[in-house]
Subunit: 519 residues, 2 copies
């Protein structure tokens, strides 16, 4: 795992080692400068994976041999011997709990703090991005709709897909199609049929076996024949010509219903939804009903999903009423097909009848902003604060080893995160604080927090994870609680009010001094 | 690896098994409908990984136990026993060689063909997307500029990053910063220093050790003192105040130069490029020169890169001329900082002096189109062609088991890919062919190819990879050759001419018959 790094981290490590500076105490901060997707918030995720990486941080003999082959030939042997002994036992990590609206701090010997940069960024960046993306989908879908992650085939390979499943779940999704994610992380998995299954049938004669025993027991019934007779009645009710109901589709539905009588879902759009998918589904579901079983849903995967969901609900209601099957009208309608934030906005604007939404590409690839742009910056070496002053003001870092406080207003909403130097006393609830907000450092602002929360806990020390890590469902719940605590002005997805981050007067003085000294 | 799948593949597998259809011969095609990034071409990549996945395709006892827990409780035991025996030994895969401007075909028992869908899509989709993206960067940069992939921290986790490194290399990049990719795939790795290294120094006194032995041997020299004296001379020449050259930066450059005297690269923009980074770099490089060593380059990572590259070249020329160090003016200038296609267009439009370009986020996340949208469709089951006819005409599939031919014009450019039924005779060079182009199937077109190439080879059969797989550099070369063979009208990145895909008259007849039959 230690080789999961950019080469320059290793050349710098040699530089520090050669200069005898490798064991200087150092501190780095991992943070982002702007929330993704033009939103005001981001969920922090990837902490548990980052801690796992720290625990396993070691160069194997093969790693060291490879490094010998790529570092300049003048590199001293003793450096490679030193690398072979390295681990993260002297590193301390403080962070907000995973799933918090979020930063993290890493402290330890300079060389190791430096070497961890790339791996930690790699583990946190995408995790936080996709968790935040998932939270936005959840926000738009509302609490009732089931959200399913189906991005395996569009992610950056198997591991990217597993991350997508895990962190979408943290962000508020309910389940995934990815079986391996289910096995590895315990996330609920769901899935029924694809168009290929429907297309693999052409006629009822292909259905094998044909019989289904009624739920209450008794003689097995020939389901193709029963479904066929229901199809006539359904087509009559819906006034659609029975010959337009595709025979292969009917066969596929019947075969699936015999295989999974308790879990029959109809995929309606392989041929024509209105004239084929819907009548065939209703026929098979009514046949199943006659034997005591309930269909679990339908899925639409192309065309105008809002209109089709309304048409589908109308047909399900009509069949339910006409054939006196009351549960029919509440059969869940699932949709998929390139669902985006915009789709969800359209669903709610046009009053769809959709109950379950599968999101793939636009969830896992985050096309609105495919990278969070987290950074990891040295803020202190050997007790001296570090400052990077560049021509891009936004790329400036805030120097010094800091504590972060979250300030809450009287309504219980966080209204500001405040960075203070570690040696400063903690601010108190009800106390007037003179602070400076990043982005307008020239002026002092006074704020009185109703409550103050230190944001970070120590998660890693002495080579061990020293804080109990919550389960995945617990992280998921914590994320929803954190999000719901946000002021709606910060939580809204479009043109939210920026969430202010501020520094104390003392930290601001330090910043000004360093700026002057370096100019 | 077999669990890397969407759950519906497994419920469908049970459906096929229960119906006794699981061993029917079936064929599927893996293809994309539109080239990514509004371009006309895509490089096919991921074949070798897909073949590895086929070789390893097996459900472990633990996998089967997990599947028992997620499939309905009515699922028969014998199905799980069957899964435990499955492998890909009856699968045949035909494909164009990896790195070709591209499709693939998979044949075998229906159940296995179906189960492979998600994993193959997952392995091919992102691989092809990022290879194509890399090819576009190479096209814009021209053949001389060195392109370096630096996206590890922005990819979808460690594995996504490794894929990015590998497939960017195939697409035409020269090297990567990702050390693990270097070790695993043999891709050249590069990297020197980051801002954090520069910021870790504040004064020349911190440099340790201080001495460097001249290349030709002799007494060690105190490099900080020597660099200091050169700084005075450089500042005089450049007419910049020596006190504006940051001391920490100078110390960091000196420390790095002592550590890597043969590989000194200056990162110029931690403080001010013009007044600090450039004078400090020239001072240290000239000091090194005096001892017989050559600096290998500079890097700019913020601000206006074109202007800074010109300023940097001007200063390097001035120093080279004034101090009579001719190689100074050709010191390679590297840039990074959110480089995109648009940046590369700007570099060439404004005549930059850039020699090396590091691309991270915009290479690995493919923000212009973060997913290729490859699909995998059953085209034949038990000898009968399959057709999916939906309300989105673009989602229609072309039925039947097919051979693909690439047709070349007299200038050697491919001008069309032609799909024919497998049983049709192969078209010949010089023969007039009546074909129908997808997108305007109503009309017949006549073409006369100067040359005809069957696009697919058989890569997997009898559980074995049956075609020798080229090395990564060979794939990279094949990709460049394939791209260079394209007609410039198809290769250009903006508003290219669409590359036509056509069907034979016989295939068109089949399509029409099936459409009529299903309506």
């Amino acid at each position: 795992m230690a080789l999961l790094s950019d080469l320059y981290q290793l050349s710098m490590a040699y530089g520090h080692w050669r200069a005898g500076r490798h064991r200087l105490p150092a501190a780095a901060e991992l943070f982002f400068r702007r929330g993704p997707f033009r939103g005001a918030f981001a969920l922090g995720a990837g902490l548990a994976e980052g801690l796992r990486c720290l625990r396993a941080f070691r160069f194997s003999a093969a790693d060291v041999a490879y490094l010998r082959s790529v570092l300049p030939s003048t590199t001293e042997d003793a450096f490679f011997d030193y690398l072979a002994t390295l681990d993260a036992s002297e590193i301390t990590v403080c962070a907000a709990p995973e799933g918090s609206v979020v930063f993290a701090r890493v402290k330890g010997p300079l060389l190791v703090v430096q070497l961890l940069e790339t791996a930690l960024l790699c583990l946190v960046n995408y995790a936080s991005l996709v968790a935040t993306n998932a939270a936005r989908f959840r926000f738009l879908a509302g609490p009732e709709v089931k959200l399913m992650e189906i991005g395996l085939r569009r992610a950056q390979g198997p591991d990217g897909a597993l991350s997508a499943s895990k962190y979408s779940y943290i962000g508020g999704f309910d389940c995934t199609s990815n079986v391996l994610a289910g096995k590895l992380y315990g996330i609920p998995v769901r899935g029924t049929v694809a168009h290929s299954f429907i297309m693999a049938f052409t006629a009822l004669e292909e259905v094998q076996p044909r019989e289904l025993v009624p739920l209450a027991g008794g003689e097995p019934v020939d389901l193709p024949t029963l479904a066929e007779s229901w199809l006539q009645r359904v087509c009559e009710l819906l006034q659609t010509p029975p010959e337009k109901a595709n025979r292969g589709e009917l066969a596929a539905f019947v075969a699936y219903a015999i295989t999974f009588p308790h879990d029959f879902q109809g995929l309606l759009d392989t041929y024509c939804v209105r004239r084929s998918g819907l009548p065939n589904f209703c026929a098979v579901a009514l046949a199943l009903h006659q034997l005591g079983y309930r269909a679990i849903g339908v899925r639409l995967d192309s065309g105008d999903l809002v209109q089709q969901s309304k048409e589908t609900r109308r047909v399900l209601r009509a069949c339910g009423a006409h054939f006196q099957v009351p549960w029919f009208e509440t059969i869940p309608i699932a949709v998929s097909n390139d669902i985006s934030e915009r789709s969800l906005e359209e669903f709610s604007r046009e009053g769809s009848e959709i109950d379950v939404i599968g999101v793939g590409t636009n969830l896992v690839t985050c096309p609105l902003q495919p990278s969070l742009g987290c950074v990891y910056k040295l803020v202190e070496v050997n007790g001296s604060p570090c400052l990077k002053l560049t021509e891009d003001e936004e790329k400036m870092t805030i120097p010094g080893s800091k504590t972060i406080y979250r300030l809450y207003d009287a309504a219980g909403h966080p209204f500001m995160d405040l960075m203070a130097l570690e040696e400063e006393p903690s601010p108190s609830a009800g106390q007037e604080l003179a602070i400076r907000v990043l982005g307008r450092l020239a002026e002092t602002t006074k704020v009185v927090p109703a409550a103050v929360e230190p944001l970070h806990r120590t998660y890693f020390r002495d080579g061990q994870v020293c804080e109990p890590l919550p389960s995945l469902p617990e992280v998921r719940t914590h994320a929803q609680v954190s999000l719901n605590r946000l002021n709606p002005a910060h939580r809204r997805l479009h043109e939210p009010q920026a969430y202010p981050v501020a520094v104390t007067e003392r930290l601001h003085c330090l910043l000004t001094e360093l700026q002057q000294a370096s100019q």
